[in-house]
């Protein structure tokens, strides 16, 4: 699934556009299936906005973003649901877990959508990220770092061709970041997927094919 970006300008960034160079905003970009692309941007440059546009969550922008030639803005709720459950997965910067559900429920509500991954496997991944024993705990009682890892595992519970990561390790120490990156990359490989990672600082968590400036 190819990603094409054409003259994308979000409304909130309109006034500041042109002050600094950007490889994305107002540009034409084509990202090939399976690419691992890192987007670096300081705060306020629209990292989350970019992710949300690609995930079809906002439409306050000009220009187009198209997956496989289909404008994401023109997809209806059911088409978006199909994309989000079978082709594109995401780790939100603000995680977006159900705070009043347990870890198990947060995992299963995503997992049971496609049943691509077994519950045992999901537990195994949580364990790899050091979350054993948190299975029955409510998400809102976890630390931010723990929640971040739950969100990461949740994003891996479906088949995907693209994985979008929005500052995925912001609250993880290096050790945990390493473990999480390893798990993520193994799943990206298994799905033969591409990944789009945005973060503040340059990094080498994954073997990127390109690094762009947002």
């Amino acid at each position: 699934m190819q990603l094409q970006i054409n003259s994308l300008v979000p409304e909130p960034l309109k006034s500041r556009l042109g002050q600094q160079h950007s490889d994305i905003w107002g540009q034409v970009q084509t990202i090939q299936p399976g690419e691992k692309v890192f987007f670096r941007a300081p705060s306020g440059k629209g990292k989350s906005t970019f992710m949300h546009i690609l995930y079809g969550l906002r439409d306050d922008y000009t220009g187009t973003a198209a997956w496989e030639g289909k404008d994401i803005r023109r997809q209806d709720d059911n088409q978006l649901a199909a994309l989000r459950s079978g082709a594109i997965s995401i780790v939100f910067q603000d995680l977006r877990l159900f705070g009043d559900l347990t870890v198990a429920e947060n995992i299963n509500i995503k997992r049971s959508l496609t049943n691509a991954v077994s519950e045992d496997e999901a537990r195994e991944w949580l364990q790899q990220l050091g979350l054993e024993g948190k299975w029955e705990q409510k998400a809102e009682t976890l630390s931010y770092g723990e929640r971040q890892r739950v969100a990461i595992v949740r994003s891996l519970l479906q088949p995907f061709q693209w994985l979008l990561l929005d500052e995925p390790f912001s609250h993880l120490d290096d050790g945990n970041t390493g473990k999480a990156a390893k798990l993520i990359y193994s799943r990206v490989e298994a799905n033969k997927a591409g990944m789009l990672v945005v973060d503040l600082e340059d990094n080498d968590w994954f073997p990127y094919t390109r690094k762009l400036l947002l």
Binding site: D77, N78, L80, G86, L101, I109, L113
Partner: protein, 395 residues
């Protein structure tokens, strides 16, 4: 299954139990009123139309042509019932039989011998035996028979006993004493004389009745014809309060015992009451539906955040809708079904209770509950589907 449980948990956040049961109860009560009103309408109809046991409920009415000032001056023959008029009456729905009350077309007088020196000109009437409410043993007459049985209207005896006798200082007479008094009937100014005796009293026909065979024989001998047109008719009707029948009587200005028609007024009143209960029930049901829809919408609105996130995780609106509907449908159906069962229960109890008062309603009339139940379920389901679809689209 597990998925649905989690999702339902997300769609029903917070403490909504009170609201939920409250709107369930409102729905149930509204339905109950509606079902009860519909059933009452049917039950009253069954009681008032008395379809249960045709014969025991059927009534005999004596009808005549109303005497008006215009009629007083017209040809007396027009105040009689012609064959066509009788035929028309027979065609009315609910009219089972029509019998003629034949009068004498020859002079009759009665006298009592002995010390009483009682003498009076009088009249006689005759109907077929099947229209009589009493049939005394010796109620028969054959040509040549010197004795004549007579059935007198008990009204006449009452007039004498409670009116005449008291004011004149005469003794009151019991039915038995009257029966014991023989008197003489003279037909056609003494051409024939009969020894008459009162053998019974009737509450149905206010006349002095003789056997039909006697009337025909005398009318043939001394009158114009054996069976002259009657001035009054005895009608057996299935339901004296039946609207078509009452309207027919009115339109022809036929008179009858108004008392018998009172059911008609009662029925009108009852139907008005039941209709207004039905109207109130409709309003209550409307409000219950509204509260129910509001409850559904509030529930979905409250869960808007969760629903939005579920959509972000890849849940299709139709999946969410299906789950929502699967949660709400049993909940509304149970309210409707519960109301229907309660109404049915009340109906069964009513059948028993009314039976003790010899009023009969039918178990089969409960079909209306079933029909309304299905209708209401349909309406509610459509409303639910529509409202959940709209709400999810808006989120």
């Amino acid at each position: 299954m597990q998925q649905n449980k989690i999702i339902l948990k997300l769609l029903r956040p917070g403490q909504q139990k009170g609201r939920m049961y409250g709107s369930w109860a409102a729905l149930c009560i509204g339905m109950l009123l509606l079902f009860a009103a519909a059933l009452a309408w049917f039950d009253f109809r069954a009681i008032l139309s008395r379809k249960g046991k045709e014969d025991t409920m059927a009534a005999y009415l004596v009808i005549g042509k109303q005497v008006t000032n215009e009629r007083m001056t017209q040809d007396p023959a027009k105040n009689l019932f012609s064959g066509t008029e009788i035929g028309e009456l027979k065609k009315i729905k609910g009219v089972n039989e029509v019998g003629a009350l034949t009068s004498n077309s020859f002079p009759v007088s009665a006298s009592m011998g002995g010390n009483l020196h009682f003498y009076t000109e009088m009249f006689l009437g005759a109907v077929e035996d099947k229209y009589l409410d009493v049939l005394p043993e010796d109620w028969a007459w054959q040509p040549g028979q010197p004795s004549l049985p007579i059935i007198m209207s008990s009204d006449f005896l009452n007039l004498y006993n409670y009116g005449f006798a008291l004011s004149q200082g005469l003794p009151q007479l019991s039915q038995t004493s009257i029966k014991a008094l023989p008197f003489e009937i003279e037909v056609a100014r003494g051409k024939e004389k009969y020894r008459a005796r009162v053998v019974g009293f009737t509450d149905r026909i206010s006349s002095v009745l003789v056997p039909r065979s006697f009337m025909e024989e005398m009318n043939r001998k001394y009158g114009n014809s054996a069976t002259p047109d009657p001035s009054r008719l005895v009608v057996k009707v299935q339901d004296p309060s039946d609207k078509t029948f009452v309207d027919f009587l009115k339109s022809r200005s036929y008179t009858t015992n108004e008392e018998q028609l009172r059911w008609n007024r009662i029925r009108t009143v009852v139907q008005a009451i039941v209709s207004s209960v039905g109207g109130v029930a409709l309003i209550v049901v409307g409000m219950a539906l509204l509260s129910f829809i509001l409850f559904v919408e509030i529930t979905i609105q409250r869960a808007a955040g969760h629903i939005r996130l579920m959509k972000q995780l890849g849940y299709a609106p139709r999946t969410l809708r299906r789950i929502l509907n699967r949660f709400f449908l049993p909940w509304i159906s149970s309210a409707v079904v519960a109301a229907a069962l309660i109404t049915f229960g009340i109906h069964c109890v009513m059948i028993q209770w009314l039976n003790t008062m010899d009023l009969h309603i039918h178990l089969e009339d409960a079909w209306i509950i079933g029909a309304l139940m299905v209708l209401m379920l349909l309406v509610l389901t459509l409303l639910l589907l529509r409202s959940s679809r709209n709400m999810l689209r808006r989120i």
